[in-house]
Amino acid sequence: MDRRHFLASLSSPLLASCDFERGKPVLEGKLLGPDMALGHKLRDNKFAAATQTQRLPIAIIGGGIGGLSAAWRLLKRGITDFKIFELEAEPGGNSRSGASGTIAHPWGAHYLPFPTVESVNVRAILADLGVLLGDPSAIAPRYDERYVVGVPQERLYVDGLWQESVLPKIGASKRDFEQYKRFDELVERYRRLRGADGAKAFALPSALSSKQADIRALDGQTLRDFLLSQGLDSPRLHWYADYGCRDDYGAHAHHISAWAGLHYHASRDALATDADARSVLTWPQGNGWLVQQLSAWIKQRAPDAFAPQSPCVRLETAASYADIDIYNAPQDRLTRYRADQVIWAAPAQVLAHVWANSPAGLREAATQMEVSPWLVANLTLDSLPIDAGPVGLSWDNVLYDSPALGYVVATHQNIAIGPGPTVLTYYWPIDNEPVPAARKRLYDTDWKVWADAIIAELSRPHPGLREQLQHIDIWRWPHAMARPVPGFLTAPIRGLLAGLTRPLSFAHADLTGFSLFEEATYAGVRAADFAK
């Protein structure tokens, strides 16, 4: 079952159980995520037949980054007669965001690395939104300073102390440092490597990477095995590799393809004027800001394009058109559209589920995809978290040896001096057990258990956290992102999705197997270009 089918159009707030310990005020919060009832309704696909059929030149299914990028591309081409059908009340997909009081915060993706020269369309979108200033094709474009992550950028809590940067230095031995250096050199080599076809070994978007066989052969093993084969066995280096994989793919390095794991490190070679290349673009609400701005940009040019709370529940293709059944959830009504072109910007597993006459093998190929479950919590504090030591609170605060990743500070980008409430966005890929068990736990565990676990974990670096905490809202992502496991590059699903052109083209990041903004934009623009 797919995330989009499970994520509800309406959140399901469950009031927290009481917390009377030590006379503290009761801590409250919401458990957000899938609406089981709608999820089951969509899965069982029991809908009355559509009462009417309407003509529609272009239908975009899904309002995540893929769908929004496709809409952006259509508008750039002067095409305005399309609709975006989105399951949720708000667009955004994995980049969705929320707010606690007046403080905006992410619910998913929270940053964008400086786009590479190859990410032409990401750069063009950023220029349209006023993030990238000047020439989008410059080697090192200039970005609006307010959107470049402020210092201090990141720190790591390791062995009871905070250190600058995420690579663990505290407690690292000489041998660890040697291996860091070798890993760095290895990544640098891959960053510069080009295949015989002239393409970068690891390009972003990944579809532009070299097809050279020996480079792609890295996809045959896990990142962990690859590192070991290179004589890199430092536990701290492996933690770092795990961190990268968990951050982007929601799974440890022993699950992730070495090609994908190296891609994370080697593909990001973009430069920026007046900013460190390792900086990123970020906003209080994370990539939700981009969603809001891009949606507004689209609405301005195609005011009626958005159809929220409208999942596609059935799809049937013919030679020159496709019929899609759209379920209007609030009105409990089904409408059939006959579209000249369907741009499918929802996950591949949803497509396989609703496509009545899908090509042979699609359903099976989609089932084989592994999808990571995640948990994201937003903790509202009455003031900035307090900790000892000289390394100050940073934007990204990572915990070494933690089941979770750490937290980002939603108010970090604010240029405000006053103390005041803040929101910490806590990221937790549930990857210490097989996916079905993890997903079941995600569904079955109640708010209190998650909240207690999060408080316990964050109280390690911040012993006074509980006193500052006002509430915790938790979002469950049962199907957060595709896992690029070994063999994903050549998995049957890749060929099937890439082969879709007309009347249905595929615009979701599942096209290439990475849940990244750049990949979704690549897929969205590509799919939009199949429309007449």
């Binding site: 300073e145 460190d276 100050g392 604010n414 240029i415 405000a416 001096i417």
Partner: protein
Amino acid sequence: MRPALLFSVFVVASCGLAYELIAAALSSYVLGDSITQFSTVIGTYLFAMGIGSWLSKFIDKGLTARFVQIELMVGVVGGFSAVILFMVFAHFTEPFRLVLYGLVFTTGVLVGLEIPLIMRILKNEVEFKDLVAQVLSFDYLGALAVSILFPVVLAPHIGLMRTSLLFGLMNVAVALWAMRLFRATIGGGRWLLAQGAIAFVLLLAGFGFADKLTILAEEGIYADQILYAESTPYQRIVLTRWRDDIRLFLNGNLQFATRDEYRYHEALVHPALATLPGARRVLILGGGDGLAAREVLKYPNIESITLVDLDARMTTLFRTNHLLSAMNKGSLSSPKLHVVNSDALIWLERNPEPFDLAIVDFPDPSNYSLGKLYSSAFYRLLEKHLSDQGVMVIQSTSPFYARRSFWCIVNTLEDAGLKTAPYHAYVPSFGEWGYVIASRRDYVLPAKIPVPVRYVTPETMKTMFDFPADMSRIPAEVNRLNNQVLVRYFEEDWRRVMK
């Protein structure tokens, strides 16, 4: 036995007066108006002593044991009085007076019990007329000793907190000594001894840890008398006075001294405002003391001033306290002035109003939060709030002590697309201080300052805009949100000065 008891009268009397003086001095430091403080504290104390004397008649049995216990209580209550008052003052503003008079009253009652009890203990040994004469003369002698020692030695050299703890220890010592003297008749000996030991240890510990208490540290930082101190949600405000010079410290950093603040504020306001005869609207960011506003209000053409300061306590204090509002000439009560207690940036983002002059008087960029207010992003935003002719002026730390920091601010303003006119002024309390005027056009020196001033004139201004070799421009990076170089420069520059 008799000389010993008479000596203890001397000690007890000196302790009693010491607590009274400590309470009066402390409340004058903190609340100001020493005449009222001394008068009410002494009055309350004497009145309470009267009540204590009257109450003494209800003590019938075990006179010596009661005397010992009262001594212990005086020792603990009086001994910790300064600590308690400082703590209450530092952490809770409201109940200070209540606690003050409560403590004064309690100590007074206990001290009032002492002399009658001693007289009754001695009454069988001495004839009444000798008893009265001796006890009372030692009582007054003790008072004399402390009244001389307190201002000369104790308050200036030992400090109020230690002095009070020291006298507490003396009270307890008298009690212990009395226990020893009357060990034959006193009764309940072991329990009483335990009480004495506990009191002694408590006071000794207080004495030992006195240094650790924040207030003592503050007394060390602020050499002068503390007029006012308050921790607001945003900062610690401390006002000190030495003779006529009042100084404001925010989080321990000197903000101004009355002796020469006019130099700082004239230099901040007039070089820019004197060039803007048509200016009507002025924005002041920071500057909750109202001193920059005072200078601005000298110009009749100014119709409105918007003062944005985060801390409502600052602006309220400088509006309502007569000492402080005299200093800013009531600028914060001016009908032309509109106070906004908000974060400057949040306010700027929400209000599109244009201004003819924006005065930026933020604290120095000593941390990342403050460093953001000196960033190119901030100046770009502020620039959008300038009218067509609009000008901004930025207090920019010292070009002498923090030379790289100063020129970093100049570079940052230029990076934000503004033309700059850096200048400096000599403010004795601070040393050489720097400012930058920035606007869309070139700055031209005004021919005259059209309002009364004491320091900034067209003649002095010529030297203000000239930078001698030891302060002249040096290379520095642009301060951006994503590098915050200014905070690093500032730290390095001042560390070098402090060495």
